[in-house]
């Protein structure tokens, strides 16, 4: 890791405002201008220079400890890091290794696994994708059926994953597999690491509603990996994946997505001449107030994080409100956009005037990362403590399913 003006010994010793200023300076100095505010999810070949820049300055992994090559940020500093990246419109890199796999390995991996994998992530040598969802296990993730059987020193894997973001860019996949089908469905799931170039692995991109190709299906046909590619204990994969949700669950409810969208709604309203319409103004103000109150709600949860408290099931309220607010803003765009909002390309080629694109992208927000319906089930059970159907005891189990582990574009 090279030295740079931005590579501090201890970021956490900085005041919050100093650190915030540092992040801004970093982005101003280093973010490639042409990648700012990308209109779609970047592929590895597009994002690589930025990834390597982050790596070179030691800014790639805000939450990882210093000794693993991360920034070792406290929760409140991580919140600032993310907030400023979002505010700036920084491009997202293929970061599943950093954001999801790394923390899990740090907590549950063997020393050998950490030594083997973490440096290669920091160096940009390994790009990971996440293999959780399956065709019949999306919101109901615990129903996954991709099977791994231990045969001698190898796991033999058969099955299919889907909604695997940027799988075509990855050379490794971390995945949940079924290793026992007898007990409760949440049990009997293990966590395996598989090279994407293993014989029997094949990848098929899926075109999404916004006509982008960021997800894939991944097929496993008698794929073999060594026994030591298991992370943690056999049949403990579910528990491990759930335990890692602590920190990142709040980001599903970050107000930034809606804040960007509302700024775009305003710009669109000015473009189409709706801005001076009192009926539009009324709707716009309602959306703004929803956003402002959402920010207040977000801060309540952020405070908990800063104080090291558990977020609890209530954090699902944030996800529901953010995703539905984002959709309502995008609905308003389409509503005022007229024929211009029916076009495939942004209006006048301006990325910020792309109502149809935002509208279509927003459809995903209430489906992935735990569909709104599932989030409501979780709150009903775990926050409101409403009862299950008496004759339906056997369906109670799924409500423990925390589908925030589900895939998401």
């Amino acid at each position: 890791m090279s030295h740079s003006a931005f590579n501090f010994q201890d970021y956490n010793a900085l005041s919050e405002s100093d650190f915030r200023a540092l992040v801004r300076r970093f982005l101003d100095a280093h973010h490639p201008p042409e990648l700012r505010n990308p209109i779609k999810r970047l592929h590895w070949n597009e994002a690589r220079p930025w990834y390597m820049t982050l790596s070179a300055h030691g800014w790639l992994a805000p939450g990882w400890p210093r000794e693993a090559g991360g920034m070792g940020l406290s929760p409140s500093k991580q919140l600032i890091y993310v907030d400023e990246f979002e505010r700036f419109g920084a491009a997202r890199t293929p970061d599943h290794g950093i954001m999801l796999f790394g923390p899990l390995l740090l907590k549950y991996g063997t020393e050998a696994q950490k030594q083997k994998f973490l440096p290669r992530i920091i160096a940009g040598e390994d790009i990971w994708c996440q293999g959780y969802s399956e065709p019949n296990a999306g919101s109901d993730l615990a129903s996954l059926r991709t099977q791994a059987v231990l045969e001698g020193d190898h796991w033999l894997i058969n099955g299919q994953k889907t909604w695997t973001t940027l799988a075509s860019d990855a050379n490794w996949i971390f995945m949940l597999v079924r290793t026992d089908s007898t007990g409760k469905k949440q049990q009997g799931i293990s966590f395996l690491l598989v090279p994407m170039d293993s014989p029997g692995v094949s990848v098929r991109p899926i075109i999404n509603l916004d006509l982008q190709d960021e997800f894939c299906e991944v097929f496993f046909d008698n794929v073999r990996v060594p026994r030591e590619n298991l992370v943690g204990e056999v049949n403990q994969g579910w528990t491990m994946a759930k335990a890692l949700l602590g920190f990142e669950r709040i980001f599903l409810g970050s107000p930034r997505q809606s804040a960007h969208a509302i700024a775009r709604l305003k710009k669109l309203a000015e473009h189409v001449g709706a801005w001076s319409d009192p009926v539009f103004q009324d709707r716009y103000t309602q959306l703004r107030l929803d956003l402002e109150d959402h920010k207040s709600l977000y801060e309540i949860f952020a405070d908990k994080l800063r104080q090291g408290q558990e977020l609890g099931a209530e954090v699902s309220l944030l996800k529901i409100h953010q995703s539905e607010l984002y959709q309502r803003i995008s609905d308003a765009m389409l509503q005022i956009g007229g024929e211009e909002a029916t076009c495939l390309e942004p209006i006048n080629g301006d990325r910020d005037l792309n109502p149809a694109g935002v509208f279509l992208t927003a459809r995903a927000a209430t489906i992935y990362g735990g569909a709104s319906e599932v989030q409501r089930n979780i709150i009903s059970k775990n926050v409101l403590r409403l009862p299950d159907k008496p004759s339906n005891k056997n369906s109670a189990a799924w409500r423990d399913t925390n589908s925030n582990t589900g895939e998401k574009p």
Binding site: V272, I367, R376
Partner: protein
């Protein structure tokens, strides 16, 4: 307000014959036309004209079938359910504005004539035409001309009245923009293009096209809802059919309610257009139908995606095609906001006599117990 036995029979026959070009079960043809030019099938167009559809609502004296809006709405609904990309509604609008010769050729499918009316987005009748028509030549620019790349000629609204311009004539430039449904819009520029005058009841033709578009959207709504109900009835999650979850059931009921209101509104509007009443009453009915159909189509198709979950967010599944069609047709010929305001303006006096305020619901209550 029910239909006459004759109308019912016409409608039944039309719906049957619509199956010839509109296959609700297989959208392969629809997919194959997406994002291509002209974006529809000239072969299918030929069949449509042979079936007499382009002159469906023209008087028999004009070579038409002499049917009414009721029948045209039934047909448009079938086309909507199958997501037909052919510019049937636009061409029918144009046919209303042609003289005998061109009308016959258009009805026979020999030439495709499409209307080029708007000069700005969301500008249906809001501001006057800037396009000029002088000395037999047209100059100006029209936007959001549906499926313009497939047109052999345009009916153009100008300050000097309606004019027909050959698409291949000198001084005509057709540029296209892809639309989300796989079709396209034309921006058509005329610089002194040779034109022939034509005339017709543009306001009446527009109301007809507005109701036909509402009916098309009704078809979209019903088909999207049906696809969704099928999905709810087959897909299992958490150990049960999706459709057995009460929260989803109730949402499906709300969509069904909007579908039923749209059907009621469109059916009424079609009957009113066929009835002997004022232009204002007809336009108000058309606006009511389009306001309902536009909003209901967006609601139903959006919710259809949500109810499909992850698979609904792929382009591979057909349900997205219905959303994209709703996105394009909801604003076309006036979005719901525009039509609500037109309705309010057209019915400002009527609203007075709605009814004298009375004890709310006393006899409505009354029948309850």
């Amino acid at each position: 307000m029910g239909l006459s036995p004759e109308q019912l029979e016409n409608v039944r026959m039309l719906r049957e014959s619509a199956a010839a070009v509109a296959d609700k079960q297989d959208l392969t043809r629809i997919r194959s036309q997406r994002f291509a030019l002209p974006g529809f099938d000239r072969q299918v167009w030929q069949t449509m004209s042979e079936l007499g559809w382009l002159g469906l609502a023209l008087p028999e004296a004009n070579g038409g079938a002499g049917l009414g809006m009721v029948e045209m709405a039934a047909l448009a609904e079938e086309l909507g359910a199958a997501l037909s990309p052919e510019p049937f509604i636009a061409a029918t609008l144009a046919v209303n504005l042609l003289g005998p010769e061109l009308r016959s050729a258009a009805m026979a499918g020999e030439i495709i004539i499409l209307p080029a009316l708007q000069e700005k987005p969301q500008d249906l009748g809001r501001s006057g035409d800037l396009t000029r028509f002088e000395d037999g030549r047209v100059s100006g620019r029209k936007v959001f001309v549906p499926m313009a790349a497939g047109a052999d000629a345009f009916v153009v609204s100008t300050r000097g009245g309606l004019a027909v311009v050959d698409a291949k004539a000198d001084g005509v430039l057709v540029e296209t923009i892809q639309a989300q449904d796989g079709g396209h819009w034309g921006t058509v520029s005329f610089s002194g293009a040779l034109a022939t005058p034509t005339e017709g009841d543009l306001a009446g033709a527009l109301d007809q096209a507005i109701i036909a578009t509402s009916a098309y959207l009704l078809g979209v709504i019903d088909a999207a809802l049906e696809l969704t109900l099928d999905y709810l009835n087959t897909r299992e999650q958490f150990g049960a059919k999706l459709g057995s979850f009460q929260a989803l059931q109730h949402r499906a009921v709300d969509l069904k309610l909007q579908a039923a209101l749209t059907r009621a509104s469109v059916t009424d509007a079609a009957s009113i257009l066929d009835a002997d009443t004022t232009r204002a009453a007809k336009s108000a009915a058309a606006s009511r139908a389009k306001a309902r159909a536009s909003d209901a189509a967006m609601l139903v198709t959006r919710q259809a995606i949500q109810l499909h979950g992850g698979i609904g967010y792929t382009d591979e599944h057909d349900i997205g095609l219905f959303l994209r069609k709703a996105m394009v047709l909801s604003p076309w010929l006036g979005d719901s906001t525009w039509h609500r305001r037109r309705f309010a303006a057209l019915t400002a006096e009527h609203d007075e006599q709605a009814s004298s305020p009375a004890r709310s619901g006393q006899l409505a209550d009354a029948e309850v117990q």
